[in-house]
Symmetry: C2
Subunit: 279 residues, 2 copies
Amino acid sequence: MTAIYTVFIISDGTGITAEKFATSLLLQFDFEYQIIRVPFVDDIDKAHAAYQQICQHILQSSDQAKNTLVFTSLVHESFTQIIHQVTEKNIWVLDLFQDLMSSLELKLGRRAKKTINQSHSMRDLGQYEARIDAIDYALKHDDGQSHQHLNQADVILIGVSRTGKTPTSLYLAMQYGLKAANYPLIPEDFLRQTIPRVLLDNRHKLYGLSIEPQRLASIRGQRRPHSHYACIENCLYEVEQAILIFRRFDIPFISSTDQSIEEIAINILQKLAIKNPLE
Amino acid sequence: MTAIYTVFIISDGTGITAEKFATSLLLQFDFEYQIIRVPFVDDIDKAHAAYQQICQHILQSSDQAKNTLVFTSLVHESFTQIIHQVTEKNIWVLDLFQDLMSSLELKLGRRAKKTINQSHSMRDLGQYEARIDAIDYALKHDDGQSHQHLNQADVILIGVSRTGKTPTSLYLAMQYGLKAANYPLIPEDFLRQTIPRVLLDNRHKLYGLSIEPQRLASIRGQRRPHSHYACIENCLYEVEQAILIFRRFDIPFISSTDQSIEEIAINILQKLAIKNPLE
């Protein structure tokens, strides 16, 4: 590992997208860094303050200018220029936004609006409320709590306990405003080799989550060590039975062993051909 | 409004970051568009398939090539080049990644690893489990359900019912792996003009959510029309009392009226000077 870098993210909004984007660039290199977010830089004074903050950082920390990276994603060139003055102190600046926006201006044959803080702002109240409603729905329909209104679900996740159903449901609700219910497969389902009728009635919305039995045993063991619930024999049995049910009812499924919440969510959107209702 | 555009997002990972980034660019222009995600383009065959999918779209839809935009964020230039062949059909392509990655290569004096699908993959199992644990924590400590382990919280949101505490807690858990509890202020708290001792013991973690009484009445009215809970007089009273409590105990607070979940979350991170434990 080489020296630690400091990476500033200067945004006129939350900076969430800029930070994620910058991180995806930085991950292409092996080096240690810390991120300092400077969000809501939406007027000239805040641009000057952000400039000062970067300058102060160089003075007060053991960091050298050459180990400081500044990513900007500001809509207004005048604000970007203020930040850009740090280059006089040998600090490197990369603008994430301006060049791409200019390209898009050329393609579309019109000027960008240069409206600040669009990406994560509450642009559309209806859309916002749909998201909140979806989160409420996911919470009410978590872990098979309620079979009411399952016909309103956009997707119903199904799998044994601790396969990632709850986080995935909440993610789908939060990011895409989708009404995601989830149903935990239980020993009774395995004995009967079927699932409740209300689920079968919504079969086209079902999506299965599977997992490696070893990993399941490890996750469950952290919660209930030395239990039947967590033992490898039971985990092997439950995972196998779940897959039999998925196959029997032709339910598409994915293993959550090596997949992040985001990857599972995108796979579900693709497979069930769900459009993003928030678009 | 001008004609509807189709925007393809071609990514070797989930494409979530690329889509958000592209959207923040597109929002700078007033035009209608639909997004077609093409995620997980992580080998040559999938690159060719993505190319075909774009070509087919032009053939099969009423869209013209000039109304089709393609954004790519692929690590490998060879995949990008395959997609880029659509320019021969007069389709416009904008690469979000290559130029910025080249700039970073120059600055850092080393080559990018060109590792596919880093941004939302399960890179670090420990980090992933921290996130899942944080979501579990948020669910267990939602709506003042449990006062146990509040000392383990990174942040405790406080406010009257329907100010956005639950979605914000879940967002902080999901995106930043923060243990976020939340506590709903109730009439007893107003009568006593104080809050439970366990909250005062964790006062530096408290963050208040306020809201415009009119908006609160509207949100509550959708759930329980014509109730005392939703009437404007009660909403005015509760919001006023909550602010008195925030002021009395010097609890920083924000109005959620015009703020999205993301904006509130970033404000909290700033104010409580919480670093992202997932970094």
